[in-house]
């Protein structure tokens, strides 16, 4: 087995050129999925394009209407950005449930997204937050909603020579907040059996004016359950609204039976977690 070629470009353009020129090339950010897959023999890329030397990709920028999180920002770093933590505590928590401390010191949200596991912890939180990504490619950049990147387990909508260079999370709405929870048999170092992310916005009267619910590990890709959000909008987030929301979540789930959980368990637990994350997000939103 020949070792793959290793490239560490300085610019996005160089990176996309290298990826376009090498069909079997893979972008490398934290490497916590890629290197493990290479070592286990599941993946043998012809070349590796390391993104970490590209200017700006290890930074978090606070723009007027969004946070821009570079593709090579490790999950641990997210916790050090006070503004991000204040506006999107659920996203930061989700990213910091991945693996162990050592893993999170390397792992990135962009990598978590592009690994395209339906159980990726940061993805439901990003989807609930309404985040998008910048996809860099040979013909320039395009901005795509997060939920459109994974297309199935291990598969993405990224074309030849493309990679995710940045994650954009809109600035939080007034009266809004978010949360993410997952169900695992242990307390950490595990993969979600089911995950749920929620963003809710409540007005001064306590009425929900907007809600986004995303579910992980319950379908081939992370699900944005629009009906679940609709079930909450206009309600005071009361029991009746929760019941409708949980029903919508269970209906949207299309899980499999596997070693980590059964279909029945995932469907039921997805609703429970959705209710819990909405409750947490509401409490957080109420604090504003």
């Amino acid at each position: 087995m020949p070792s793959p070629a290793y490239h560490a470009p300085d610019t996005v353009k160089e990176a996309t050129d290298l990826l376009a020129a090498n069909k079997g090339a893979k972008p490398l950010a934290g490497g916590t999925d890629l290197i493990v897959q290479m070592q286990s023999g599941r993946m043998a890329p012809a070349a590796i394009v390391d993104l970490k030397r590209i200017a700006g990709l290890k930074e978090i920028r606070e723009e007027a209407d969004h946070f821009a999180i570079g593709a090579a920002v490790p999950c641990t770093s997210l916790k050090n950005n006070a503004a991000l933590v204040a506006e999107w505590p659920g996203v930061v928590e989700a990213a910091n449930l991945i693996g162990s401390v050592q893993v999170r010191n390397r792992a990135t949200m962009a990598g978590n997204l592009c690994n395209a596991s339906p159980a990726a912890d940061s993805v439901p939180a990003l989807v609930a937050a309404g985040a998008s990504v910048v996809v860099a490619g040979p013909s320039g950049e395009r901005e795509v909603p997060v939920e459109q990147i994974p297309t199935g387990p291990g598969k993405t909508s990224l074309g030849d020579g493309e990679f995710v260079s940045e994650i954009r999370i809109p600035r939080k709405a007034k009266g809004g907040s978010d949360a993410y929870l997952r169900s695992i048999p242990r307390t950490e170092m595990d993969i979600a059996v089911v995950g749920a992310g929620a963003q809710v916005v409540v007005d001064d009267s306590g009425t929900c004016t907007a809600a986004r619910i995303a579910i992980g590990a319950a379908a081939p890709t992370v699900l944005l359950v629009e009906d679940a959000g609709k079930a909450l909008v206009g309600s005071k987030l009361d029991d009746a609204a929760f019941a409708k929301m949980m029903e919508a979540v269970s209906a949207a789930c299309n899980p499999i039976d596997d070693k980590r959980g059964t279909v029945a368990y995932r469907k039921a637990t997805a609703g429970v977690l959705a209710k819990r994350v909405v409750e947490i997000a509401r409490q957080r939103a109420g604090g504003n």
């Binding site: 242990r186 059996v193 070693k259 959980g261 029945a264």
Partner: protein, 755 residues
């Protein structure tokens, strides 16, 4: 001799000094199995069967041999044919032929992960590439994994040539049943029929892995003179030597095994997997070869503890005295006969005095790796079933579960179910201590429940050798042959210090290779502190005798007039009466008084005693998700005498953690094709630190009269009761019996939702 036994209190025993190996280990410098490198060493890789059962029609190694850097390839055909002799090791004994066949398949692959070929090359990459290019032509055969399926009379045969057990006249043979182990007393059926209260249940457990952190690794060199040197981590270099020699069919004296530090074994490193492979690759290549397993290989090819299918029926009189037990237990030993089921039967009711019982154990083969010992091999499974049933019985009678156990507890002097007389055992003391512990009466929160269980392990003694030598500056050098898994260097140093009357810091302990000291059985069976401890104490006494002679020479008196007291020789008569010579003073003059001072001896102590423990567990169940948290846990155990209490507590806590993992999350999961689906720590879920509460320990010290300082084995008892303690607590919280392990969140959720 003025032996230290007479002392009412100890000077060093019972203290908690830092372990001698601690600094090297916490700074990452200690040399474990995969760390060892020999000059000019090659790297090995093993080709493993992807099928749970297949005939190996041919193996084509030509492409592998053509890979640049490849120096040797071996298959089953390179292993010497050997007689089917029984080789004894610490916690398990087995046939050398089975061991050889397990190490490298011969014509038939018997489980997913069974080794079928191996290569050695100048780099790991070349070895892996060559392994990939070895073409094995398999004819896939029917397989069977589940114990119930394998037990059936019409089950597919796990392999050719099984010697099925004779199940008695008129009974059809079952092709995969290799042992029926009955154990009976009185008339269980009649006593059951007349019992006032009867409970029964079926209990299921999946196979589990020992989960040691360090994967297996071995370096071997087959030298030009025909001698083989091996460096590996194991639970016993002497048994690695014996097993390796048996499989290679060479004299024991031609194999020398150098022990490396061990990163966990729990019974699973009392056997061998890689040493003969590395040796044969070395023989062919003429260079030292290292073979190391990946974590995936560890799960697929090394020792799971058996799962079990168990039926228990208990009958009690109106007062709660258990009058009858009917127990049927089926365990699997994987694809090779042997197994733990006899030990399961023996430990089923050895903690209770029951007059009428009928216990039947069955060993069933299945297409899984050859079972290996795991901490109290065979006992946790049966204890789960019996202790859950005892809790059911207590509930039925409205009795406190500890009261119920006290009423039935086995007492010193009783005869155990295997016909052994039980000596100074401490079950009653453990139960009393558990009952008195604040945990037992603490209030429970919402969705919380409490479970209790007690259990035992037989423990063992057996052969050990130790030597004590003095350096001329008064340093004390202890040499022994047992790998240090749980702090035994510290315990040996404490016992030597106590015997000699010198500070712990003056004592250094070396774990010697097989060429440097006499035989010691494995570190296993909870035997090391007991048996090797006696060897160390006896060797220290031998040195004391020599020192008395040397002092007598210096004082020109009889050795009989010199006593050893608190680290000094004391002259009792004559002109020098009252004079003393310290160990260091005598050692400094050794050259002038007769030469080096050293004493080596071998012992074979068999006055070991079973150990008993009682556990209390509180769980909290998330009724919406089925998640179970262990919120409080207390381990009470009779430890005889704790030589180093911190390491005894560590054993108690570690055993409880492994038992909790077994109860809640751990299991081998096979897919429909018979392939292991969770060969890694991500989906084979041992507990992580944040899963556990602080595990409280209570050491009951009821001295063992068969050890100079009162030691009883402590390492295995603590994994026995947790399964039932956890299982009973969850059952109570859920309101339904949870009798199938692991009690995973989806099972709890299903039970709570009418499943």
């Amino acid at each position: 001799m003025n032996a230290p036994e007479a002392k009412g209190s100890f000077k060093f025993v019972g203290s908690r000094p830092i372990r001698p190996d601690g600094v090297e280990k916490v700074t990452g410098k200690a040399v474990f199995g995969t760390d060892y490198k020999a000059a000019n060493m090659l790297h090995g890789a093993i080709v493993r069967s992807p099928h749970p059962h297949a005939r190996i029609k041919s193996i084509d190694t030509s492409k592998a041999e053509a890979v640049p850097g490849v120096k040797a390839v071996v298959t089953g055909a390179d292993f010497p044919s050997i007689e089917d002799i029984i080789v004894r090791t610490g916690e398990s004994s087995g046939s050398a032929l089975d061991m050889s066949t397990n190490i490298m398949a011969k014509g038939e692959a018997l489980y997913d992960g069974h080794a079928v070929a191996a290569v050695a090359a100048v780099t790991k990459q070349a070895a892996l590439e060559a392994a990939r290019l070895i073409a094995v032509d398999y004819e896939v055969l029917p397989h069977v994994i589940d114990i119930n399926d394998a037990f059936a009379a019409e089950a597919p045969k796990v392999k050719e040539g099984i010697q099925a057990a004779d199940l008695g006249e008129g009974q059809a043979t079952r092709p995969n049943v290799t042992m029926k182990f009955p154990m009976a007393k009185g008339d269980a059926a009649a006593a059951m029929a007349s019992a006032a209260h009867v409970v029964s249940g079926h209990y299921s457990l999946k196979p589990v892995h020992q989960g040691y952190i360090e994967p297996h690794a071995a370096v071997a060199t087959w030298k030009a003179d025909g001698k083989v040197d091996v460096w590996c981590s194991s639970q016993g270099q002497f048994d690695v030597r014996g097993l390796t020699a048996s499989v290679l069919h060479i004299d024991v004296g031609n194999v020398r095994v150098m022990p490396l530090e061990i990163g966990g074994g729990f019974g699973g490193k009392t056997t061998i997997y890689l040493e003969p492979v590395a040796a044969l690759l070395s023989k062919k290549s003429g260079r030292p070869v290292r073979v190391a397993m990946t974590r995936e290989e560890v799960f697929r090819a090394t020792g799971p503890a058996p799962g079990g299918e168990i039926d228990v029926k208990l009958g009690a009189d109106a007062d709660g005295k258990i009058v009858a037990a009917e127990i049927d237990l089926k365990y699997s030993s994987g694809a090779f006969s042997g197994g733990d089921v006899w030990a399961g039967a023996a430990h089923s009711i050895n903690h209770y005095a029951i007059e009428n019982y009928a216990v039947t154990g069955w060993n069933v083969l299945c297409n899984m790796p050859k079972h290996a010992a795991y901490r109290a091999p065979g006992a946790p499974q049966i204890n789960f079933a019996v202790e859950c049933a005892v809790n059911d019985l207590a509930e039925k009678l409205g009795m406190d579960p500890i009261e119920m156990r006290l009423k039935n507890a086995v007492l010193p002097g009783a005869t155990g179910p295997m016909g052994n007389t039980l000596g100074e055992i401490g079950l009653v003391e453990c139960l009393e201590a558990a009952k008195a512990h604040p945990h037992y009466s603490a209030p429970l929160g919402a969705n919380q429940a409490r479970g209790v269980a007690c259990g035992s392990w037989m423990n063992y003694g057996g052969p050990s050798t130790a030597a004590v030598a003095l350096a001329d500056d008064g340093s004390v050098l202890v040499t022994e042959g047992n790998p240090d898994i749980g702090g035994s260097r510290a315990s040996m140093a404490l016992m030597a210090a106590e015997t000699l009357g010198v500070p712990y810091e003056k004592v250094s302990v070396t774990i010697a290779d097989t060429g440097s000291i006499g035989y010691s059985m494995v570190t296993g069976g909870s035997r090391t502190t007991y048996a090797t401890g006696i060897a160390v104490i006896e060797a220290a006494k031998g040195v004391i005798n020599i020192m008395r002679e040397r002092a007598a020479k210096m004082w020109e008196c009889d050795a009989g007039d010199v006593e050893w007291d608190d680290g000094k020789a004391v002259c009792k008569t004559g002109d020098n009466a009252g004079k003393t010579l310290t160990l260091a003073e005598i050692a400094a003059k050794a050259g002038a008084t007769g030469g080096p001072i050293a004493f080596e001896n071998g012992v074979n102590p068999l006055q070991h005693l079973p150990g008993y423990g009682a556990h209390i567990c509180d769980v909290e169940v998330d009724k919406e998700t089925g998640n179970v948290s262990v919120v409080r846990y207390t381990v009470v155990q009779d430890v005889g005498k704790a030589i180093h209490p911190a390491y005894v507590e560590g054993q108690m806590q570690g055993g409880a953690v492994q038992g909790i993992g077994w109860a809640l999350n751990e299991a081998y999961i096979y897919n429909k094709d018979g392939r292991l689906d969770n060969a890694g720590f991500l989906d084979y879920r041992i507990p992580v630190a944040s899963d556990m509460p602080m595990i409280d320990t209570v050491m009951v010290e009821k001295a063992n009269p068969g050890h100079p300082y009162g030691v009883k084995g402590v390492g295995e008892v603590p994994i026995v009761p947790p399964l039932a303690a956890v299982g009973s607590a969850v059952s109570k919280a859920v309101g339904k019996p949870m009798r199938s392990l692991p009690i995973s969140p989806d099972k709890v959720h299903a039970a709570l939702n009418g499943g």
